[in-house]
Protein backbone atom coordinates (compact mmCIF):
# COMPACT_ATOMS: atom_id res chain seq x y z
CA UNK A 1 0.00 0.00 0.00
CA UNK A 2 1.45 3.37 -0.95
CA UNK A 3 1.49 6.07 1.66
CA UNK A 4 -1.52 8.36 1.62
CA UNK A 5 -0.48 11.34 -0.48
CA UNK A 6 -1.29 13.77 2.27
CA UNK A 7 2.13 15.37 2.54
CA UNK A 8 4.80 16.32 0.04
CA UNK A 9 8.38 15.19 0.65
CA UNK A 10 9.23 18.69 1.87
CA UNK A 11 6.36 18.63 4.34
CA UNK A 12 7.42 15.17 5.52
CA UNK A 13 10.94 16.43 6.16
CA UNK A 14 9.58 19.47 8.00
CA UNK A 15 7.42 17.26 10.25
CA UNK A 16 10.35 14.92 10.88
CA UNK A 17 12.49 17.95 11.75
CA UNK A 18 9.96 18.91 14.42
CA UNK A 19 10.07 15.35 15.83
CA UNK A 20 13.86 15.17 15.96
CA UNK A 21 14.12 18.69 17.36
CA UNK A 22 11.73 17.85 20.19
CA UNK A 23 12.91 14.33 21.00
CA UNK A 24 16.51 14.15 19.81
CA UNK A 25 17.80 11.41 17.50
CA UNK A 26 17.85 8.47 19.92
CA UNK A 27 14.75 9.69 21.73
CA UNK A 28 12.64 9.72 18.58
CA UNK A 29 11.33 6.23 17.78
CA UNK A 30 10.06 5.00 14.43
CA UNK A 31 6.63 4.85 16.14
CA UNK A 32 6.89 8.60 16.88
CA UNK A 33 7.80 9.30 13.25
CA UNK A 34 5.09 7.09 11.75
CA UNK A 35 2.51 8.84 13.93
CA UNK A 36 3.69 12.40 13.28
CA UNK A 37 4.25 11.96 9.54
CA UNK A 38 1.01 9.99 8.97
CA UNK A 39 2.83 7.44 6.82
CA UNK A 40 2.86 3.65 6.76
CA UNK A 41 5.95 2.22 8.38
CA UNK A 42 6.76 0.31 5.19
CA UNK A 43 6.58 3.53 3.14
CA UNK A 44 8.93 5.26 5.55
CA UNK A 45 11.50 2.49 5.15
CA UNK A 46 10.97 2.37 1.39
CA UNK A 47 11.54 6.09 1.02
CA UNK A 48 14.42 6.66 3.45
CA UNK A 49 15.91 3.20 4.11
CA UNK A 50 16.30 3.72 7.85
CA UNK A 51 15.82 6.20 10.67
CA UNK A 52 19.36 7.39 9.96
CA UNK A 53 18.43 7.85 6.30
CA UNK A 54 15.49 10.03 7.29
CA UNK A 55 17.60 12.03 9.73
CA UNK A 56 20.22 12.64 7.02
CA UNK A 57 17.53 13.82 4.61
CA UNK A 58 16.16 16.17 7.28
CA UNK A 59 19.63 17.53 8.03
CA UNK A 60 20.41 18.01 4.32
CA UNK A 61 17.21 20.01 3.87
CA UNK A 62 18.01 21.96 7.04
CA UNK A 63 21.45 22.95 5.76
CA UNK A 64 20.14 23.64 2.24
CA UNK A 65 17.09 25.66 3.15
CA UNK A 66 15.86 25.89 6.75
CA UNK A 67 19.00 27.33 8.33
CA UNK A 68 19.84 29.79 5.52
CA UNK A 69 16.24 31.09 5.67
CA UNK A 70 16.40 31.45 9.46
CA UNK A 71 19.72 33.31 9.20
CA UNK A 72 18.36 35.56 6.45
CA UNK A 73 15.27 36.35 8.52
CA UNK A 74 17.33 37.04 11.65
CA UNK A 75 19.75 39.33 9.85
CA UNK A 76 16.95 41.21 8.08
CA UNK A 77 14.87 41.69 11.23
CA UNK A 78 15.44 44.55 13.65
CA UNK A 79 17.54 43.62 16.67
CA UNK A 80 20.58 41.44 17.11
CA UNK A 81 20.67 38.39 14.83
CA UNK A 82 22.54 36.51 17.56
CA UNK A 83 19.68 37.03 20.01
CA UNK A 84 17.02 36.17 17.46
CA UNK A 85 18.71 32.91 16.47
CA UNK A 86 19.54 31.77 19.99
CA UNK A 87 16.07 32.57 21.34
CA UNK A 88 14.18 30.57 18.71
CA UNK A 89 14.54 26.84 18.15
CA UNK A 90 16.12 27.08 14.68
CA UNK A 91 19.55 25.96 15.89
CA UNK A 92 18.28 22.97 17.87
CA UNK A 93 18.58 20.39 15.10
CA UNK A 94 22.19 21.45 14.61
CA UNK A 95 22.85 20.94 18.33
CA UNK A 96 21.24 17.50 18.26
CA UNK A 97 23.08 16.46 15.10
CA UNK A 98 26.40 17.60 16.54
CA UNK A 99 25.97 16.08 19.97
CA UNK A 100 24.26 12.80 19.13
CA UNK A 101 25.55 11.89 15.67
CA UNK A 102 28.46 14.14 14.67
CA UNK A 103 31.19 12.12 16.36
CA UNK A 104 30.22 8.76 14.82
CA UNK A 105 28.62 9.63 11.50
CA UNK A 106 30.89 11.27 8.93
CA UNK A 107 28.02 12.39 6.70
CA UNK A 108 26.34 14.12 9.64
CA UNK A 109 29.68 15.66 10.66
CA UNK A 110 30.15 17.13 7.17
CA UNK A 111 26.67 18.67 7.21
CA UNK A 112 27.20 20.07 10.73
CA UNK A 113 30.41 21.68 9.48
CA UNK A 114 28.53 23.32 6.60
CA UNK A 115 25.93 24.66 9.03
CA UNK A 116 28.62 26.03 11.35
CA UNK A 117 30.26 27.89 8.49
CA UNK A 118 26.89 29.44 7.62
CA UNK A 119 26.68 30.73 11.19
CA UNK A 120 30.26 31.99 11.03
CA UNK A 121 29.35 33.97 7.92
CA UNK A 122 26.61 35.92 9.73
CA UNK A 123 28.79 38.99 10.56
CA UNK A 124 29.80 39.28 6.89
CA UNK A 125 26.18 38.93 5.83
CA UNK A 126 25.07 41.48 8.44
CA UNK A 127 27.59 44.03 7.16
CA UNK A 128 25.79 44.06 3.84
CA UNK A 129 22.61 45.25 5.62
CA UNK A 130 22.52 48.96 6.38
CA UNK A 131 21.21 48.98 9.93
CA UNK A 132 21.89 45.47 11.10
CA UNK A 133 24.05 45.49 14.22
CA UNK A 134 27.33 43.75 13.54
CA UNK A 135 28.53 41.47 16.29
CA UNK A 136 31.36 39.06 15.70
CA UNK A 137 30.45 35.83 17.41
CA UNK A 138 31.58 32.42 16.33
CA UNK A 139 29.20 29.59 15.56
CA UNK A 140 30.35 27.70 18.64
CA UNK A 141 29.56 30.64 20.96
CA UNK A 142 26.16 30.85 19.31
CA UNK A 143 25.48 27.13 19.81
CA UNK A 144 26.59 27.36 23.42
CA UNK A 145 24.17 30.23 24.00
CA UNK A 146 21.38 28.30 22.29
CA UNK A 147 22.10 25.22 24.39
CA UNK A 148 21.82 27.34 27.54
CA UNK A 149 18.54 28.82 26.39
CA UNK A 150 17.15 25.39 25.42
CA UNK A 151 17.91 24.13 28.91
CA UNK A 152 16.69 27.25 30.67
CA UNK A 153 14.14 28.82 28.31
CA UNK A 154 13.23 31.85 30.44
CA UNK A 155 14.36 33.25 33.77
CA UNK A 156 16.46 30.27 34.76
CA UNK A 157 13.50 28.00 35.18
CA UNK A 158 13.80 24.45 33.87
CA UNK A 159 10.99 23.16 31.56
CA UNK A 160 10.13 20.51 34.17
CA UNK A 161 9.09 23.30 36.56
CA UNK A 162 12.03 22.89 38.89
CA UNK A 163 15.01 25.20 38.93
CA UNK A 164 18.29 23.66 37.91
CA UNK A 165 19.56 23.64 41.51
CA UNK A 166 16.48 21.87 42.84
CA UNK A 167 16.83 19.25 40.17
CA UNK A 168 20.39 18.41 41.17
Amino acid sequence: MARPKTFSSEQLLRLALVCFTAGGYEGTSVDDLVQALHVHRGSLYKEFGSKRGLFLAVLQEYVRSTLPSAIEAAVSAPGDAFDTLTTGSELDLLLIAGIERGHTDLQVAALVEQALSQLDDIPTLARTRMDAPVGVRSSTVMLGARLGRRLLPTTGEHPSGTTLEEGM
Binding site: S29, V30, Y45, S50, K51, T104
Partner: protein, 118 residues
Amino acid sequence: MAQITVEGTDLVVEVQGMDKLWSLRSRLTIPLAHVRGATSDPGIVGDGQGLKLGGARIPGVIVAGTFRQDGERVFWDVHDKTKAVVIELQDETYARLVVQVADPRAAVELVERARKQS
Protein backbone atom coordinates in the same frame (compact mmCIF):
# COMPACT_ATOMS: atom_id res chain seq x y z
CA MET B 1 16.93 -14.80 16.97
CA ALA B 2 19.49 -14.08 14.29
CA GLN B 3 23.14 -13.19 14.08
CA ILE B 4 24.26 -10.48 11.69
CA THR B 5 27.79 -10.43 10.32
CA VAL B 6 29.62 -8.91 7.40
CA GLU B 7 31.61 -11.22 5.15
CA GLY B 8 33.52 -9.33 2.48
CA THR B 9 30.94 -7.36 0.53
CA ASP B 10 27.98 -9.34 1.86
CA LEU B 11 25.70 -9.00 4.84
CA VAL B 12 25.03 -12.41 6.32
CA VAL B 13 22.01 -13.07 8.49
CA GLU B 14 22.28 -16.41 10.23
CA VAL B 15 19.09 -17.72 11.81
CA GLN B 16 19.87 -19.34 15.16
CA GLY B 17 18.73 -22.62 16.72
CA MET B 18 15.16 -23.82 16.37
CA ASP B 19 14.19 -20.63 14.53
CA LYS B 20 15.68 -22.26 11.42
CA LEU B 21 12.80 -24.71 11.59
CA TRP B 22 10.09 -22.12 12.20
CA SER B 23 11.33 -19.64 9.61
CA LEU B 24 12.29 -22.28 7.04
CA ARG B 25 15.54 -20.41 6.41
CA SER B 26 18.94 -20.84 8.01
CA ARG B 27 21.04 -18.20 6.29
CA LEU B 28 20.45 -15.14 4.13
CA THR B 29 23.30 -13.57 2.19
CA ILE B 30 22.69 -10.06 0.86
CA PRO B 31 25.20 -7.95 -1.10
CA LEU B 32 25.87 -4.80 0.94
CA ALA B 33 25.05 -2.75 -2.16
CA HIS B 34 21.47 -4.00 -1.78
CA VAL B 35 21.22 -2.94 1.86
CA ARG B 36 19.62 0.48 2.32
CA GLY B 37 19.91 0.75 6.08
CA ALA B 38 19.15 -0.70 9.49
CA THR B 39 16.95 0.59 12.28
CA SER B 40 16.09 -0.60 15.76
CA ASP B 41 12.28 -0.69 15.71
CA PRO B 42 10.40 -2.44 18.55
CA GLY B 43 7.09 -1.01 17.29
CA ILE B 44 7.09 -2.85 13.97
CA VAL B 45 5.82 -6.13 15.45
CA GLY B 46 2.61 -4.41 16.59
CA ASP B 47 1.83 -3.34 13.00
CA GLY B 48 1.18 -6.96 12.01
CA GLN B 49 2.83 -9.05 9.32
CA GLY B 50 0.15 -9.57 6.71
CA LEU B 51 -0.22 -12.89 4.95
CA LYS B 52 1.95 -15.81 6.04
CA LEU B 53 3.59 -17.44 3.01
CA GLY B 54 5.67 -19.91 5.00
CA GLY B 55 6.73 -20.12 8.61
CA ALA B 56 5.17 -19.71 12.03
CA ARG B 57 3.21 -17.03 13.86
CA ILE B 58 1.98 -17.28 17.41
CA PRO B 59 1.02 -13.77 18.59
CA GLY B 60 3.20 -12.65 21.49
CA VAL B 61 5.46 -15.69 21.14
CA ILE B 62 7.03 -15.89 17.69
CA VAL B 63 6.91 -14.48 14.20
CA ALA B 64 9.24 -16.39 11.88
CA GLY B 65 9.29 -16.97 8.17
CA THR B 66 8.18 -15.23 5.01
CA PHE B 67 5.16 -12.91 5.03
CA ARG B 68 3.55 -10.70 2.45
CA GLN B 69 2.35 -7.29 3.58
CA ASP B 70 1.20 -4.40 1.38
CA GLY B 71 2.52 -6.24 -1.67
CA GLU B 72 5.98 -6.65 -0.18
CA ARG B 73 7.74 -9.83 0.88
CA VAL B 74 9.23 -9.53 4.36
CA PHE B 75 11.37 -12.03 6.26
CA TRP B 76 10.69 -12.21 10.00
CA ASP B 77 12.47 -13.85 12.91
CA VAL B 78 11.34 -12.21 16.15
CA HIS B 79 10.40 -13.48 19.60
CA ASP B 80 11.27 -10.42 21.69
CA LYS B 81 10.01 -7.30 19.92
CA THR B 82 12.22 -4.99 22.00
CA LYS B 83 15.21 -6.38 20.11
CA ALA B 84 13.77 -6.19 16.60
CA VAL B 85 15.96 -4.63 13.91
CA VAL B 86 14.67 -3.70 10.46
CA ILE B 87 17.06 -4.09 7.53
CA GLU B 88 15.74 -2.40 4.41
CA LEU B 89 16.76 -3.99 1.08
CA GLN B 90 16.53 -3.23 -2.61
CA ASP B 91 16.63 -5.50 -5.66
CA GLU B 92 16.14 -8.56 -3.46
CA THR B 93 13.37 -11.12 -3.01
CA TYR B 94 12.65 -9.59 0.37
CA ALA B 95 11.80 -5.89 0.67
CA ARG B 96 13.09 -6.00 4.25
CA LEU B 97 14.21 -8.28 7.02
CA VAL B 98 12.84 -7.93 10.54
CA VAL B 99 15.06 -9.94 12.85
CA GLN B 100 15.70 -10.15 16.55
CA VAL B 101 19.35 -9.66 17.48
CA ALA B 102 21.17 -9.82 20.81
CA ASP B 103 22.28 -6.17 20.68
CA PRO B 104 20.16 -3.98 18.36
CA ARG B 105 22.35 -0.88 18.74
CA ALA B 106 25.51 -2.81 17.80
CA ALA B 107 23.75 -4.53 14.88
CA VAL B 108 22.48 -1.20 13.46
CA GLU B 109 25.95 0.30 13.77
CA LEU B 110 27.57 -2.74 12.11
CA VAL B 111 25.21 -2.56 9.12
CA GLU B 112 25.45 1.22 8.69
CA ARG B 113 29.26 1.17 8.93
CA ALA B 114 29.58 -1.74 6.49
CA ARG B 115 27.31 0.05 3.99
CA LYS B 116 29.49 3.14 4.03
CA GLN B 117 32.66 1.13 3.48
CA SER B 118 31.26 -1.06 0.69
